[in-house]
């Protein structure tokens, strides 16, 4: 299972703050998140972390990975 922690608007759109998804083999982060988060591609600035380290949307995740993703909001 890939454990996915969703923050901010991504959690709102996906309707959950944490998800677990079973994938076969490897999958690109963008592909995975596109299926879970409506309008995912309309967000320009986002931070993606795999196992606590920054990554890009084209990085691949596999079944034991932990993914965190957040659209970035400023503090005012």
């Amino acid at each position: 299972m890939v454990r996915i922690k969703l923050m901010g608007a991504f959690a709102h759109l996906a309707g959950a703050r944490e998800l677990e998804v079973k994938i076969d083999g490897k999958k690109k982060v963008d592909e995975l998140l596109r299926e879970l988060i409506p309008r995912y591609d309309e967000f320009k600035d986002k931070i993606i972390m795999i196992n606590g380290k920054p990554a890009r949307g084209d990085a691949e995740v596999e079944d034991t990975d932990e993914l965190k993703v957040m659209p970035v909001l400023s503090g005012g």
Binding site: M7, G8, A9, A11, H12, L13, P38, R39, E42, F43, K44, D45, K46, I47, M49, I50, N51, G52, K53, P54, A55, R56, D58, A59, E60, V61, D65, K68, M70, P71, V72, L73, S74, G75, G76
Partner: protein
């Protein structure tokens, strides 16, 4: 007056001599400086020379821009500026307020107040009629009650700007407040107002603002408002506003914690946007804004308090306070007393660390809400030795106590809500901001994290590395041009663009519809660069030429300590590499190695008149 979009009129008030008059300013100035911060910088450069910031000769500027008073996306802002009593340099801040709508509808682009009244007064402006009225009955009151009282007298359909006890008592980071939660002028604009014995400004405007193409303005604005509502981020923004930032800054080791000694807080969850949602009782916004961000909660004393990220980061985690209802009390006190929440938070945190280290004997320690609250009130009323000391701000405290190693400020202005042990671009943004350590001009941290170098085939195996690439300096300038330049001159809120992705293309189009003047992006960038160069020239002149690149350094703590916890534990900025990044920034700006604009840069930006005056205090390259 043939101009469209601008009135070309500034209301002048001399409180020493009880005089009021209207100054017309040239179309060329309107076009070059646009409004808001641009207009304020031009006025202060010309008029507030070598003045005592709290003396009658300082000028307090309330400046609007072409967007104000008209249906423009989140265009209800106003800039309040003066020479700063906190930093000794240029100071300003913006707030959303009905006062900007009424000011423009009264037929003015700005108000400039000089002199000092003998007794407390307030200004009442109704179109062409301006009165200086007694505020003796209001002096000493908080900003909430002051505004309510003034609305009882003048009706609800007015814009009100006021100061609280902090401004009256010349707290160095006192602000100007409006609508129980909107604040402007972190670097002490409220103290400048207090020094003039000006309690409030009440404005009622009924005129029609001349617009070049009304139909086009209506059409563009409608389109922009719809784009904001249809943005995928809008529903969540509506829920949490800027409070959503607590979660991600904490995740990325950027949440100021215990006087910026760490970047994540063990009780972050209990002060974040989700916790706030459970406490929210209403939402407030600025005029002409359809994405209101003022989340009002009930605090631990049953009072309303309007929260945003900065308040909670600096008065919460930065003080080691993990209960949002208590943090909300401090925030409400700051708003009602008229103090900047950021500088207040950093100043109290400085005291807490000094107490914990045994440098100060009495006072609050981290996590002590009760004593933090007492100190906040002592600061506002300048009670006792500690209250008086902390009212001077962190830089002054560090000079007195020798606590420079944990003094979180740049040029005297306390650092806002981003801890930068591992973020050099954000540190550069703080270092080079026009007013001191504020994020509004180049909030680059998201870009910096999002574009962190990823090496190797398997990106996920690579650590985030602190880098100092030249693109970081270029990015800071790009953002300063937009955020610190364009939006501050228009004067509009940047959040539709920053938070819900409204296209920047709307802004020059709206500006053209309002003024009839076609600005290309090159024109707008040049205007922004002009304002940055002028503000830098202002600092150098007011510092009598005693200026060097160290003024643009971030706080020492980020160089000499490391993060205390998290995946980047122990990491910090490298001073030499930061210095090289700063050189790149100067090179791109056309400033010399001291950070002073070169002659040719000033000429290119149409600031020739600045050269002889700067040459009186320093040699220009």
């Amino acid at each position: 007056m043939t101009m469209k979009g601008w009135w070309g009129r500034i209301l002048r008030v001399d409180l020493t001599n009880n005089k009021v008059w209207v100054q017309e300013y040239p179309e060329e100035v309107a076009k070059k400086f646009i409004g808001g911060r641009g207009l304020a910088a031009w006025i202060l450069w010309n008029e507030a020379k070598n003045v005592d910031p709290l003396g009658p000769e300082n000028k307090l500027v309330f400046a609007s821009g072409p967007f104000n008073g008209l249906p423009t996306p989140s265009g209800g802002k106003m800039v309040v500026a003066a020479k700063s009593p906190l930093t000794g340099g240029y100071g300003d801040g913006n707030l959303g307020t009905m006062a900007t709508v009424h000011l423009r509808k009264a037929g003015y682009d700005a108000i400039v107040v000089e002199g000092k009244a003998k007794k407390p007064v307030y200004l009442y402006i109704e179109d062409d009629n301006v009165s200086i009225l007694s505020a003796e009955g209001l002096w000493g009151k908080g900003t909430f009650e002051t505004e309510r009282e003034l609305k009882k007298i003048h009706g609800k359909n007015v814009g009100v700007l006021s100061i609280g006890p902090a401004g009256e008592n010349l707290v160095k980071y006192a602000v100007v407040m409006s609508q129980e939660g909107r604040a402007a002028g972190r670097p002490g604009m409220g103290a400048v107002m207090g020094s003039k014995k000006l309690k409030a400004v009440v404005i009622k405007g009924t005129k029609e603002i001349p617009v070049a193409d009304k139909e086009k303005l209506r059409e563009l604005s409608q389109e922009a408002y719809n784009a904001i509502l249809n943005s995928p981020g809008y529903p969540f923004w509506h829920r949490q506003g800027t409070m959503a930032a607590v979660e991600w800054t904490n995740e990325n080791s950027a949440l100021p914690t215990r006087n910026f000694s760490d970047g994540s807080f063990e009780f972050a969850r209990s002060i974040d946007g989700y916790t706030m949602e459970g406490m929210k009782v209403k939402q407030r916004g600025c005029p002409y804004c359809n994405m209101p961000c003022g989340n009002v909660v009930l605090d631990a004393e049953g009072q309303e308090s309007e929260l945003d990220y900065e308040n909670v980061a600096l008065l919460g985690s930065n003080l080691g306070l993990g209960k949002l209802n208590e943090v909300s009390v401090l925030n409400r006190i700051a708003d009602d007393m008229g103090m900047d929440t950021i500088s207040l938070g950093v100043s109290i945190a400085h005291v807490m660390e000094a107490v914990e280290k045994g440098i100060l004997k009495d006072g609050p320690t981290f996590g002590d809400f009760k004593k933090a609250k007492e100190l906040a009130l002592d600061i506002a009323y300048r009670r006792g030795e500690l209250g008086n000391l902390a009212a001077e701000g962190v830089k002054a405290m560090a000079e007195k106590l020798g606590t420079h190693d944990f003094a979180m400020h740049v040029k005297g202005l306390e650092v806002s809500g981003y801890n930068c042990f591992i973020y050099p671009a954000m540190a550069l943004a703080y270092g080079t901001s026009s007013i001191g350590a504020h994020h509004k001009e180049a909030w680059v941290i998201a870009w910096e994290i999002g574009t962190a170098p990823i090496e190797g085939e398997k990106a996920k195996k690579v650590e985030y590395k602190i880098t100092y690439t030249p693109e970081k300096a270029a990015k800071v300038i790009e953002l300063q041009r937009l955020r610190g330049g364009l939006f501050e001159m228009l004067t509009a809120c940047r959040l539709p663009w920053v938070e819900v992705g409204l296209s920047l293309d709307y802004y020059p189009k709206l500006l053209e519809a309002i003024t009839g003047v076609k600005y290309t992006w090159d024109d707008l960038y040049a205007a922004a660069d002009r304002v940055y160069a002028l503000i830098r020239a202002y600092w150098v002149r007011e510092y009598n030429g005693n200026w060097d690149r160290k003024m643009d350094y971030p706080p020492r703590r980020w160089f000499i300590e490391g993060l205390k916890s998290g995946p980047y534990k122990g990491q910090h900025l490298d001073e030499k590499k930061y210095d090289e990044l700063l050189s790149e920034y100067y090179r791109l700006r056309g400033w010399d190695e001291r950070g002073i604009p070169k002659k040719e840069t000033l000429q290119k930006l149409g600031l020739e008149e600045v050269i002889p005056e700067l040459e009186k205090v320093t040699k220009l390259e």
